[in-house]
């Protein structure tokens, strides 16, 4: 056996466990889900079929399709706001905080990660409620006359999401920023660039992979999240994951739930394709 052939066999041997894992726990379940999405319900029974009815229903029934629109709107707002908040925070930690304190600063930034996701959502409910911390503070300071109606709204959902994803994005952007050689910005300044030009033409393009990677992760996690809109949104509108949960837990309509899940996967795949040009996992 040649050296190259031996290397190939060794390579396949090393990759085989991961490949088997992926096939067993992603490819096969995904194929089963796609197959199930074409089945149909007869009464309370699932009947195998090749029926695109679940997809037709999703695109033709407004309450179902609106769940996708709700998810998209919330996700886009959360992603944009999170990036706008996380970038300056990451830049301050990377450029303004002394190196010996940066690790502590990052630790402080991700501290809320240590709390359970559900507990954190309920905590936000207590902060944003009519008699919550925020309203009491604003009323006490005389800034408002009536409590703000934030809890059980989309705004509350967005706040809960942003709190979570700013931490995530700060990490990815920070990792990108600290890899930038300081010479680049210095050279630009030597050539007459002002601070805005240095940021716009040097720093931002070079940190874009970190931003896009973090934004993509935010998009994926936000699109698929069920807990935050359920707790903070007051169930006043349904997102796609909430609609999927309704089909699974209440209706027992596994074919429709599968079709909705395939749609969710398709949207995330589309987001990946659109952002793949800038996705650089090795830079974060």
């Amino acid at each position: 056996m040649s050296l190259a052939a031996r290397d190939r066999r060794l390579g396949w041997g090393l990759v085989a466990p991961a490949l088997a894992w992926t096939v067993a726990f992603f490819v096969l379940p995904f194929a089963a889900m796609v197959a199930l999405s074409f089945a149909r319900m007869e009464g309370r029974e699932i009947v195998p079929a090749f029926d695109p009815g679940n997809y037709a229903r999703f695109f033709s029934e407004w309450p179902l399709f609106k769940a996708l629109l709700n998810s998209m709107e919330i996700t886009v707002v959360v992603t944009v706001v999170s990036v706008l908040l996380a970038y300056p925070l990451a830049a301050i930690i990377a450029f303004r905080v002394p190196v010996r304190w940066q690790r502590l600063a990052l630790l402080m930034a991700v501290l809320p990660f240590w709390t359970s996701y559900v507990v954190r959502s309920y905590a936000w409910l207590l902060v944003l409620g009519q008699n919550g911390v925020l309203n009491k503070a604003l009323l006490g300071a005389g800034l408002i006359a009536e409590p703000l109606e934030i809890a059980a709204t989309r705004t509350a959902t967005v706040i809960g999401f942003v709190h979570f994803f700013v931490m995530l994005l700060t990490l990815t952007i920070y990792a990108n920023l600290v890899q930038l050689p300081t010479n680049y910005a210095r050279a630009a300044r030597d050539l007459g660039a002002g601070p805005v030009q240095v940021f716009r033409f040097v720093i931002l393009p070079l940190t874009l992979p970190g931003v896009v990677t973090g934004a993509f992760l935010t998009f994926v996690l936000c699109m698929g999240d069920y807990i935050t809109p359920q707790i903070l949104g007051g169930n006043n509108e349904l997102t796609l994951p909430q609609l999927i949960m309704l089909q699974l837990g209440r209706s027992g309509n596994f074919p429709l739930a599968s079709a909705l899940s395939v749609v969710l996967m398709a949207v995330i795949t589309l987001a990946y394709l659109l952002s793949s040009r800038w996705l650089r996992v090795d830079r974060v």
Partner: protein, 347 residues
């Protein structure tokens, strides 16, 4: 051929309990109170494994994805016992072994717990889906009429319980339609009143969210609430109360039975008997998850006067007379009701 597939994925999420020296029960959260199962475990020297579920569809899916003999006991909505029997999920149990003679007569529910004269389950707990409220924030007299809820007076101060069957039942009663008379045609009449209720509401809430909203003052009224929402909060918030309006309320009831195919039917039956005994009933009625009235009237001898006051024990005769059972839709009507509910949520 009809197959049930797609269930296996859900089954993977369910812990597979061991079978020896253990009793495996698929239950609602009120059974997960250690104070309830501990006396049974001590008496019989067994470990009771409890798996909580919500909604009959989810429970049926778990049973579909399980091996025969994996589960011994099932707690289920009383109105869905027939559905479970039809699906072959429940085993017959000897009626003579059950103390139904001591039950509130309305809670024997033979029409639900027996099929073709064979007993498959026994009612264990009941309560009401009606109007719960904070009596310091709303006029209790207003709560006697469901029409007040959509009058504009309480806009933005209402939570709707996120369960389509009782709330659609309440809306139907508000329109003068008995819950048993809800059909595909009459469902159309519920659309506008349901959407009007949603418009007047602040949120549609599950049990925990509703309790949080009432306790924190986020809302003052819960449509679909009852003693099961307010009782556990009574010690900290005695201002929470509930009533059955003049249009009536819904009576919920849960039953317990032995799962078909169990390998230890005698032990499973003993557990059922323990749960419907006055001792088990008292602990179940005041469970940490939610309170509710015991089906066995002799439990009144075990409960404390304070517990009976919270449960409104002495008013049960009137409440039972004015409450109707949950709607029992067939598959098509159930789908139509859930579609209407989804549309309401998206309003």
């Amino acid at each position: 051929m009809t197959l049930r597939f797609g269930i296996s994925a859900l089954a993977l999420l369910v812990a597979s309990p061991a079978l020896s020296q253990e009793l495996n029960a698929l239950v609602w959260c009120d059974h997960a109170d250690p104070a309830l199962v501990a006396p049974f475990e001590e008496k019989f020297g067994v470990k009771v494994n409890l798996k909580e579920y919500e909604g009959t569809a989810a429970g049926m899916a778990i049973l579909d994805g399980s091996q025969p003999g994996e589960w011994d006991v099932l707690v289920i909505d009383a109105v869905d016992v027939g559905r479970a029997v039809e699906a072959g999920k429940l085993a017959p149990i000897p009626a003579e072994a059950l103390p139904t003679g001591d039950f509130f007569p309305e809670l024997v529910m033979a029409e639900n717990n027996t099929v073709d004269g064979v007993t498959y389950a026994v009612t264990e707990k009941f309560g009401y889906n009606t109007i719960a409220y904070d009596k310091t924030k709303v006029d209790p007299a207003d709560m006697a009429d469901m029409a007040t809820l959509v009058s504009g007076k309480y806009d933005g101060r209402i939570a709707i319980y996120d369960y389509y069957l009782p709330v659609l039942g309440l809306v139907a009663m508000g329109q003068g339609i008995a819950t048993a008379d809800i059909t595909a045609e009459s469902l159309a009449l519920l659309r506008e009143p349901l959407f009007a209720l949603k418009k007047a509401s602040k949120q549609v809430a599950d049990v925990v969210s509703a309790q949080t909203a009432l306790a924190t003052g986020e809302v003052d009224i819960m449509v679909g609430g009852g003693e099961w929402v307010t009782a556990v909060l009574a010690a900290d918030n005695p201002n929470l109360d509930w009533t059955i309006p003049k249009q009536g309320g819904l009576r919920w009831a849960q039953s317990i039975g032995v799962v078909a195919g169990t390998t230890q039917p005698d032990l499973a039956l003993e557990f059922v008997k323990y749960i419907v005994s006055p001792e088990g009933q008292a602990k179940l009625a005041t469970s940490a998850c939610y309170w509710g009235m015991p089906a066995n009237a002799k439990t009144g001898d075990v409960l404390t006067p304070e517990q009976k006051a919270v449960l409104r024990w002495d008013e049960q005769a009137d409440f039972l007379a004015r409450a109707q059972l949950y709607p029992i839709p067939d598959a098509a009507l159930d789908t139509a009701m859930q579609d209407l509910w989804t549309e309401m949520l998206q309003q």
